[in-house]
Amino acid sequence: MSKPLLQFTNKGIYCDPAGVYLDPWRPVDKALITHGHADHSRWGHKKYITHHDNVPIITHRLGDINVSGIAHGENLIINNVKFSFHPAGHIPGSCQIRVEHKGEVWVFTGDYKTESDGISTPYQPIKCDTFITECTFGLPAFKWQPQSQVMDDVNNWCAQNHADGKTSILFAYSLGKAQRLIKHLDTSQMKIYCHGAVYKMTEVLRQLIDFPPTYLITRDTTKEEIAGNIVIAPPSAHGSAWMRKMVPYVTASASGWMTFRGARRRRAMDKGFVLSDHCDWDGLLESIDATGCENVITTHGYQEIFARYLREEKSLNAISERTQYEGETNDESSQEDTSNNGIHSAQASSSGSSSNLAP
C-alpha cells in the first residue's frame, strides 16, 4: 500500500512527495501555514508559505522570518503536488489547505467555522476525498447562537454596565476573537480601550479590515478616562494587577467553552458569552457533508468521540490523529501573545521543543 498523501509525524502533518509540512509544531525547512495563531504558526521554520493576509500577522508575531504570500485559490506546485489555500472563516487570514496529487484530493482545515463573522473571509467547503478536520467542539452539546444575537447580548450587557457606572472588561484572544468583538461592539456611547497585545494586533489588521477606533491603555491612561467604557484584554490578563485601573468593573469571557455552567463558574467571571471561532456540532457535520469526502481524519478536540460518530452514524472512514494543536483552549493562558510587543524572542522559542510556545 502506498503512503498516504499527508502523514502525521512527530514534526507535524507531512506531505512526502512535496517534502513540505502543514502547520508543523517543530522547526522544518518549508512550512505551509493555515493561520496566525501560535499553535499553528510556530517559530523556527526556514520558509513560511501562507495566504497574503497572514503575512503581516505572522511577521508581527514572529518578527524577521522568511515568508511569502499566496492568494486564495492560487495553485502552488511543488514536485507535482498541487497546493492551494481556501478561506476557513476562523479568523482574518485563516485558510484551509487543499492538496492534490495524482488525482487524489486532501483538505486540511486548520481551524474553521461556518458562520460568517464579518471580519474573516467566509468559509468555503472544498470537495475532497480525505478531509482532515479539527473538532474542538465536536460534541452535540455545542450549538452556537447566531453572532447577531450574541453581540446583542454583549452590547446590552455593556450598556447596562455603563448605566451602572461600571467598566466592562471583555476577555478574548488577542488575535481573532478580540477583533470580532471590536468590529461589532456598539460604540455610540462607549469607547473601546485595549490591552497592548490586543491593541497592536488590531492595528496590524486595520490594513485589511475597518474597525471602530480603539485606544491603547498605557501608563498615562487615567482611571477617569476608562471608567464606564469597554476594555478588551487577553484571558491571561484576568486577575492581574493591570485590572486595578478599571475599578469598578465587571468581567466577561467570550468563548465556546462558556456553554458549560461548570466552565463559567470555574472561570470566576461575572458573565460568559458563548462565542466561538470554531464550528459547533452542526457546523462540523454540515461541513463534512459538503466536502463529499469518503475519509475523515479528526484532530484536536473530542477527536475520538467524533470519529466514532462519523464511522457509526455517517458510514465514513473516520480515524482520529493526535496533533499538538490546541483549538480554543479551555485554559486561560494558552495561545496568547501577551508580551508588550507581541514578538517571541528567539531564545524563548527556538529550542525546537514541542511545548506550546506562548509565553
Partner: protein
Amino acid sequence: MKQFANLIRTIDGTNKTTLKVEALADYFKTAPDQDKLWTIAILSHRRPKRPVNTTLMREWATDISGIPMWLFEESYHIVGDLAETIALILPTINESSDKSLTTIIQELIELRKKDEIEKKAYLQENWLKLNYYERFCFNKIMTGGFRIGVSQKLMTRALSQATGIDKDILAHKLMGSWTGENTSFQELIYEDNEVAMRGKPYPFYLAYAIENEVEDLGNVTTWSAEHKWDGIRSQTIIRSDELFVWSRGEELVTDKYPEFQAFLGKIPNGTVIDGEILPYKNGEILNFNDLQKRIGRKTIGKKLLEDVPVIIMAYDLLEWQGKDIRNKPFQERRALLEQLLMDLNQRKGGINSAQTSTSSSSSLPIMLSETMTFDSWNDMAVERSLSRKRKSEGLMLKRKDSPYLVGRKKGDWWKWKVDPLTIDAVLTYAMRGHGRRSNLFTDYTFGLWQDGELVTFAKAYSGLTDAEFKKIDAWIKKNTLERFGPVRSVTPHHVFEIAFEGIAPSKRHKSGVATRFPRIVRWRLDKPMEEANTLDDLKALIPKDGS
C-alpha cells in the same frame, strides 16, 4: 417558570454572594406566594418525588436529538450534569413557557400516576416549549439535588431581607418535614401553627474548627470540653406523646431507630435533646462502619437491631417543659440535662450504663456525653490525644455561658479534632468531576503497595488547588492507560499524601480497610512512586482493641 429560570440564571451568572442574595430577595418580594414556597422547597432539597427515572429521561432526550445513546453518555461525562446535558443536546428553540413554576411542579406530581407513554409525551412536548434555562430548571427539578451555589443560610438571609423576619426565626420555621404540597407560603413563614411546629427541630448549632492556637481562646476554665463522638448528630424531640428524631441533614429518621420509642412515657413531653446517635453494645462504642449498616436500610431487621444497637449520647438540652431554652447559658442547659438523665436513672430500670446492655428492656438507650473542665490547655491537649482510643474524633469546646446559636457560627463553640492520620499513596484511576469541576479529572482513586502491586484503598476529590487540578488533569489526559466509561486508569506515577479521620477493618473493601473522610493533603512531587506506603503500613494504623 420564566421568573424562576431568570432567578437561577442570575444566581448562576455570578459568584458574588451579595448579588445572589439580592436576586433571591427580589424574587421573594415579587413572585407569587405559591412559587416562592416551591422555590424554598427546591432550594432546601424538598423537591417532589421524581415522576420519571433518569434512564428514561436520557432515552427520551436522545430520541428527539437524534443522537446515539453512547454519544449522550460521552457528552454527559464531559458536561458533568445530567439536567444540563439534556438541556444542551435538545434542539435549540427560542420559545419560552408561560406556565408558572407551581403549574409545572403540579404537573410533574400528577405525572407520577400516569403511564410511560403519557410521561414520554409530556416530557418531550415540554422540552420543546422551554428555552435553555427553563429546560435546565425543569430537568433539575426532576433529577434532584438543586445545587447551584445557594446554601440554606444564603436563602434564609434573602428571605429575611424580603419579609423583614429575623433570619434565626426563619431558619427554625424552615426546618422539619414540610413540603410544597402540605403547606402554603403564608402558613410556613407567617403563621405560628402549633400542629406544624410540633415535630419541627431547632436549627442545629454547628462549630468551626479551631484555626490558630488553642491558647488563643483565653482562660481555659471558661470552657467546657467534651468528646466529639463519631456518629450521627441528631435532635430528639418528645412532644405531645410523640417522638421525632432528626438527623443534622434535616432528615426525619425516627423509624430507623425504633429503640428510641422507649423514651415515650419516660422523658416528659416538651423535651428536645441534642445528641449523637452512636452504635453501642456491651458497654462499648462500636465503629462508625457498624452504624453505616443501619443508615442505608429502609427496614431494620431484628438481627441488625441486635448486632448494632444504638444509643443517644446526649450533648445539650434545647427545650424543657415545652419552653425553648436555647438562650440560657450552656451550663444551665447542661445542669437541666444532667438532672433529667439522673431522674431517668433513678426511676425503675434506669438509663444505660457501661455495665448493662442496651438490649435489656429495663434501660433507656441514652447516655450523657461527659463534660470536662481543665486547669490548663496542656491537660486538655492530653485528653485530646486520647480521642482515638476513646473512639471520638477529638474535642468540642463550648464556652460555659454560650447560648445555643443557629447554624455554623464562630466564637462560642469550636471543634478541636485530632490531627488526621496520613499516608502516601499512588494515583491509579481518575474520573471527571461534577459542577464547577465538570470536564476536569478531579476525582481520584489511590492505591498502596502490596507484593509489588497497587491495591486500591481510597477515593478522594478534595484538597488540591484549582491550579493543581488543572495540571493533574492535563497529565491524566496524556497518561491514560484504559477507559472505563467516565473512569480512566492512568500510568502509576504520582504520589499524594492522603489524610483521613478514622480507620477500621472492613470486609467490604478490597484492601480490607475502611478510612473515614479521606482527602488529599498534598501532591508529593518529591516522592517517587516506589516510596509510597504499603497496605501493611496502613493496617498498622488501625487502633488495637483494649490498648
